[in-house]
Amino acid sequence: MNVDLFIPCFVDQMSPQVGLAVATVLERLGHTCTFRAAQTCCGQPSFNAGYWDEARKVAIHALEVFAGAEAVVGPSGSCVAMMKVFYPELLAGTPHETAALDLAARTFEFGEFLVKKLGVTDVGARFPHRVTYHDGCHGLRELRIKDEPRQLLRAVKDLELVECDETESCCGFGGLFSVKFPMISTAMAEVKGGSLVRTGCDYIVSSDPSCQLQLDGWISRCQSSGSLSAAGGGRRPRTVHLAEILAGTVS
């Protein structure tokens, strides 16, 4: 199969290793990956802020970029949800509505793609560590992805998967919410981050780099301010994307 990689703008600039890990896994499974360099952003920031006319323009660009793709796969629950769930609403009543529905049907989140589309749970990975999984809200509630990442993690050799006591709580990122209402966002990071750290895990796995940014940002600050032991165990878990574990590229 030829897979078109959908690399969210901040993955492109801030966590490129996640995009490369996705390609590594898919190629290992025998598929070819293409990166259409004309892609820029899914338009979610403007959409979430309510500037739908602006978001629409960005969406139309994305539709043009991915026209004709067999499958579009992205390592971000929130960005994939934007294309899959919200593009049809954003473009309803415009001449682009059909194209939006068409693209939505061919766009997948990475873990979802492996398990539901390719029917694969074991990619031959090994990761001898204790990990816990953070359910990103867009992936969980817009894309209904819950079990797939866990199936993939359970198939990884020597990996110990534990669950925190707040699996479905939001990390508090929420896009611009994290800086428009920073005190609430941080309180939410405390709750979710605290719960994840208390599992005593070595790695926090996520399918959403924006959640990773938030959680890692809070954990890192806790560590440098000396309050990490209060959060639990004194361990400083690292956040990592599911694709990196499956690709075996965690440094």
Binding site: A38, W52, E54, R141, S169, I184
Partner: protein
């Protein structure tokens, strides 16, 4: 510059913009980790019980579909069903009064109290009465009112509004209640919730017997039979509507259901989602005042039907389903915003996710849209709602409506600039590269937004090259030509 006008509902002067107040209160509240932990602990029992009850349903998700259909069909035929309800209620001897807004509702009720020569008024839980600020108006007119619901009674003594529209005093510790009762009722200190409840019970008993007017709310208005349905656990609403001579009920116009049978779905689901119970203790249908042959009951029953901007929400087909709300409070119970900022921070009658959706409609979008913005759109609320209201998406819709009618010009400019770049891949890539290279400097300079992030969280260093750069290099090594 927005003018600070008197509050439209209470006429009290507004000291600062609602948004400023919200940010101030939120900041103060998130620092109170003791309070947050207390509320979290209080909700723990609810989650357990809720899940136990949900498991008793043979399929909770399918039941939600049915509940959603029941309210959708009622609200979308309100033009037919509300008059039908009224005709049936009046045929049972009930008297209906219509109020276009809060002021009219207060006037009607004060007139009823005057006509009844009311001396002692007992009230059971009624969020609609909170919405119209009824207690303050009654007290101003010289009436003593006692809230009989234990949580509302505690809040009344504390001089606070309800913290949560189902659990009004969930933030209050038992030692605080003991002090409160000691000061107001002269009771001995105790740390037993049972004893505290008995103190309130004993105090309230005479009030039920002596009251001449009882004021209640209504959970549902049944069009088929002209009955109002009241859901409660304590029995105080039953007592309020049993013993006084006059019964006044207040309800929003949207509470209509078509058939009595709809309650066979809605009553259990209201209890399960709202309180983790199979049914609440008392679910009562009132047709009207006491009938010939019945040995007790009020001689008069009045129902005040309130619009107060509900027809404005009705007129928005996209958000009309927010009128399906059965006020169970499940969305509050799962909302991370609510759990972290607390009920008072919202500054509204209805808190939490549903409150954030409807308050801009009830009180004005420009001033209250920050409630729609104060959300990460996690969607836990929508998942929890027993009648499938699309709550978190309506927050998005409110944001869109605000951007159209009252945009922030600076913000809109920012988004427009982003669009210019996003449609030009070379420009977008160049901008991204510039961001990466200057991140270190930006962190030192701390411009707005970045400053807010860095106040409480770190940001990693930018990588040396972007994905597109590394991909291009990767492709070259694989396919050199």
């Amino acid at each position: 510059m927005t003018q600070l006008l008197p509050h439209p509902e209470t006429d009290y002067p507004v000291v600062m913009l609602a948004k400023t107040q919200f940010l101030k209160d939120a900041a103060a509240h998130v620092r109170d980790s003791g309070h947050r932990a207390f509320v979290r602990k209080a909700l723990g029992g609810y989650y357990t019980n809720r899940d136990l009850q949900k498991a008793r349903y043979r399929d909770w998700e399918h039941a939600r579909d049915a509940a959603s259909l029941a309210k959708w069909s009622a609200v979308n035929r309100l033009d037919e069903l509300l008059p039908r309800f009224v005709a049936n209620f009046e045929a049972n001897g009930g008297q209906v009064h219509w109020a276009r807004d809060a002021h009219e509702a207060r006037t009607i009720i004060l007139d009823l109290l005057r006509a009844a020569k009311a001396k002692a008024i007992i009230k059971s839980k009624c969020m609609t009465s909170e919405e119209i600020h009824l207690n303050a108006a009654m007290e101003k007119d010289g009436y003593g009112v006692v809230e009989s619901d234990l949580g509302e009674f505690i809040q009344q003594l504390r001089g606070e509004p309800p913290y949560h529209f189902v659990f009004p005093c969930m933030h209050v510790r038992r030692d605080e209640i003991s002090d409160l009762f000691g000061r107001h009722l002269g009771s001995a200190p105790t740390d037993s919730p049972e004893e505290l409840t008995m103190i309130a019970r004993r105090h309230m008993r005479r009030l039920y017997v002596d009251a001449d007017v009882g004021i209640t709310g209504a959970n549902f208005l049944v069009a088929e039979t002209g009955q109002i349905s009241i859901t409660e656990n304590e029995g105080n609403a039953r007592l309020t509507a049993a013993l006084p001579r006059v019964h006044i009920s207040i309800s929003g116009i949207e509470k209509v259901v078509e058939n009595l049978d709809d309650l066979s779905v809605l009553l259990p689901m209201l209890a399960t989602a709202g309180a983790g119970q199979p049914m609440t203790c008392y679910n009562t249908l009132y047709s009207g005042p006491r009938q010939p042959g019945e040995c007790d009951g009020p001689e008069e029953m009045h129902l005040v039907l309130l619009d107060n901007q509900r027809t404005a929400i009705l007129a928005d087909p996209e958000q009309r389903d927010s009128l399906h709300c059965i006020r169970c409070g499940a969305c509050l119970n799962v909302c991370p915003i609510f759990k972290n900022v607390g009920g008072f921070t919202y500054g509204t009658t209805y808190q939490g996710p549903i409150g954030s959706v409807i308050t801009p409609h009830l009180r004005g979008l420009a001033d209250w849209n920050h409630l729609s913005g104060a959300s990460s759109l996690c969607g836990a609320c929508t998942d929890a709602c027993p009648v499938r209201i699309d709550i978190h998406h309506h927050l998005l819709h409110n944001r869109r409506n605000a951007a159209r009618t009252a945009p922030s010009r600076l913000e809109r400019l920012g988004h427009r600039l982003f669009v210019v770049a996003a449609r030009r891949p070379w420009l977008f890539a160049a901008g991204g590269a510039m961001f990466r290279r200057s991140l270190g400097l930006l962190k030192a300079l701390r411009p707005p937004l970045l400053k807010d992030w860095l106040a409480s969280r770190d940001l990693p260093a930018a990588p040396a090259s972007s994905f597109r750069g590394q991909w291009a290099a990767r492709s070259r090594t694989r396919h050199p030509d």
